[in-house]
Amino acid sequence: MSLLTCKDFLNELNDYLDDATSPGLRQEIEAHLAECPNCWVICDTTRKTLRIYKGTDLYPLPSEVHQRLMEALRRKMSRSTNGS
């Protein structure tokens, strides 16, 4: 029998997804998930949310942005060398 309520589960969801729960708590969470379809869905879809975001680089650095950064740094560095 699981002692966790759905509310307890939500409070532990972050740590559970981050693998930061103690083995005992982990077991309780998994027991709850096995008998609560709603929490199982929330857990599964949140896990997928994280997986999808981690697997997609939404904003790769455009090469022209990299170039302009290097130019700005070069200007800065030559100023600081000339100045000292």
């Binding site: 939500l10 972050n14 869905v41 997609t56 650095l61 700005a72 740094l73």
Partner: protein, 208 residues
């Protein structure tokens, strides 16, 4: 400046910082090469604006170069860099909007009913339902819809993969405050994405 310098490649950040502090510009360029992608992505996620993100990227590394002598190694170089970037990015946001909308401490409804509204099973590989470009659009607009503090915490923890403690330090928030904002950010994104990723044929409240 040659980021691919053989000498710098195997050196750890602390070693590169020491070299850069002694005036080695190649060492600084290597530090830029290591972190420019992350800093740009972070700035883009927080500001939600390409121009602002580029400004933040430049300001971050220019400031880091300028203040390199003040870096004492109490934290990791990357954390120090991220702190500069986050401050710059939040300043940009404040310029664009009213101060009120970018408070890191903003109060939010803590009622549990707002944490989860829709419960629907997703497809096994929901990302395959869309083209790369469509997927990017979906993910980007979901993040954009989050309040600034939620997307900042999400970007630091789940995209740049900083620890809860590092995130708390960078944002001057307590660890519990970071955790509660992260939970809300994750659950809101989950909610937004459910519309696109739920398994076809399932009713929204099938399990209630």
């Amino acid at each position: 400046m040659q980021p691919e310098s053989a000498r710098s490649n195997g050196t750890d950040d602390a070693g590169l910082v020491r070299l850069a502090q002694e005036g080695d510009s190649e060492a600084f360029a290597e530090l830029v090469a290591r972190y420019e992608n992350s800093i740009f992505r972070l700035a883009r996620n927080i500001t939600q604006n390409a121009e602002d993100a580029e400004d933040v990227l430049q300001e971050t590394f220019l400031k880091a170069f300028e203040h390199l002598d003040e870096f004492r190694g109490d934290s990791k170089f990357y954390t120090w860099l991220v702190r500069i970037a986050v401050n710059q990015a939040l300043m940009k946001l404040r310029k664009r909007k009213s101060d009120r909308s970018v408070s890191l401490d903003e109060t939010f409804d803590t009622g549990e009913d707002t944490l989860v509204r829709e419960i629907a099973v997703w497809a096994e590989d929901p990302e395959r339902l869309y083209s790369q470009e469509e997927l990017r659009q979906i993910l980007a607009s979901a993040i954009e819809s989050l309040p600034p503090i939620f997307r900042t915490v999400f970007a630091l923890r789940d995209i740049e993969e900083l620890s809860t403690e590092e995130t708390a330090q960078i944002l001057n928030l307590s660890v519990p405050a970071v955790k509660s904002r992260l939970l809300r950010a994750r659950l809101r994104l989950r909610e937004k994405l459910t519309r696109y990723f739920k398994r076809k044929g399932d009713d929204v409240f099938a399990y209630l």
